[in-house]
């Protein structure tokens, strides 16, 4: 649980140079709105959005680095955590608050599989649309060969079986 918003302001103004704030998923939008509009904080510039896969704690953490263009202070790191399992790995999008999150949240979705509820256009951005996995996750095993898209060659499949390598699920589905 996070403290009441008034306390957040005091915490941040006390050590604005190096602060981070871990909030619950349900409260993320309210906290973000507060940080952006509060006259003493005015964190109007969401500089950097990224995700980190903490596989030992079984969570994916999305980090927003906030600065204030109006008051020239920052950064405040706003952190939101979601479970690693793909079905539960979702959180509210902050794109309605800061437009600059749009592509960066798409990137976090593409590479980490975090689904952002309320994002206007949540599609893959760096990987191609047919790609199924999320390659920046710590347990991701790269396939042995991309050349046989869309269907794997028999030798590659046999080699994958021998060495324990993987083939992308999309390729196997196409073969069915």
């Amino acid at each position: 649980m996070i403290p009441p918003l008034e306390q957040v302001r005091e915490m941040l103004s006390a050590g604005a140079a190096k602060s981070s704030l871990l909030v619950e998923r349900e409260e993320a939008v309210a906290v973000a709105q507060f940080l952006k509009t509060d006259p003493q904080l005015q964190l109007d510039f969401c500089s950097c959005v990224t995700a980190v896969d903490y596989i030992k704690q079984d969570c994916i953490e999305v980090v927003y680095h906030l600065y204030s263009v109006a008051l020239k202070h920052g950064p405040v790191a706003l952190k939101v955590r979601a479970p690693r399992a793909l079905e539960q790995c979702r959180m509210p999008s902050l794109t309605p608050v800061w437009r600059g999150c749009e592509y960066q949240e798409r990137e976090a979705f593409d590479l980490y599989g975090v689904k952002f509820d309320g994002h206007p256009d949540l599609r893959r951005i760096l990987m191609w649309d047919e790609f199924v996995d999320h390659p920046m996750r710590k347990d991701y095993v790269p396939p042995m060969d991309y050349e046989w898209e869309p269907t794997p060659h028999a030798e590659t499949l046999a080699r994958a079986k021998q060495t324990g390598g993987t083939v992308p699920a999309s390729a196997l589905e196409a073969k069915k």
Binding site: S47, V52, V63
Partner: protein
Amino acid sequence: MSATGIIQTQTLEVSLGPQHPSTHGVFRMDVVLDGEYVVKLKPVMGYLHRNHEQLAEKMTWLGSMPYTDRLDYFCSMTNNWAYALAVEKMTGLKVPERAEYIRVIMAELTRLLNHSCAIGFLLSDCGAWFTPVLYALREREWILDFFETVSGARMMCNYMRFGGVRVDLDDASLAMARNIVARWPAFLDEFEKLMTENEVLLARTQRVGILSRNLAINASVSGPVARASGVEYDIRKVDKYGVYDRFDFGVPVGEAGDTFDRYMIRILEMREAVKILEQALRDIPAGPFIAPEAKLRNFKVPAGDGYGRIEAPKGELGFYLVSEGGAKPYRYHVRPPSFINLTILEDMCLGQKVADTVIILGSVDIVLGEVDR
């Protein structure tokens, strides 16, 4: 012609790219056109994606320094600096004064090189086929020669190290840098005489692709693009990293936020960069060029996370790093300015003619090595 006498029209979807010469690399824009006017535009990127971040997570801290060169391959010096700065923040390494001056000299030369090419290519996009960019490339060659003399490579310099730089500048190379700086104002005057008051340039760029100040801030736009829209925000002034607080320089800010302002802001920034270079080359102190306690082998970073950022020529270049205390980063994230500046490409292009989208994209100044990573 239909029965009512009104011409029936429909919208047309055009894919600009990825091999389009004016997209500055393998970049695609899906555009929906109503006649000649843009009604929808979606950028498509990822053609150069190589998962740079995952590569770096599998290498030692220093091992990914040469890879940062390949992000924005015009500006390897500033990429190196941003990464080194983030790591120095986490380790608390103190950078010697001479190294800080050398970094400023390298970064500002990179700014000259980047901006002159950016406006050169922008003018190529306007249809001034290769004459302006030829002048820009001629001047860039002097700087690349200097980088080669100092670091051994023209573009992939791999020059900075945690706690300093890799090689010192000797008197001969300092004299070389002074020569470059001395000839730059004359080049800018010549360039401006040819270009700035050119009627065709004014007609093509003024009131084209307007970006409002509020949208620029809300969409995390940084660098010259944001400043052209009136956002007075320069990380060299705000964070005062390195020794930037010692130099006397101004931050030019635009008013209209149109393509012409984005062109002009780069000319003005080059004039300010020349001022910084003159002061840095005059004041550079003697001393070590790398911190004596900086280790090249068995380099470890204390556990924790850190975010370091600099004012790269294209905008805010940041590195978000997470360490577990080991020899490799646990998480390595690049905040690429050209990727995030593309967020507002659609807003700037809506209602413009299709020929103007190319100029607007040129004025944002992207490099695909950095967009796609």
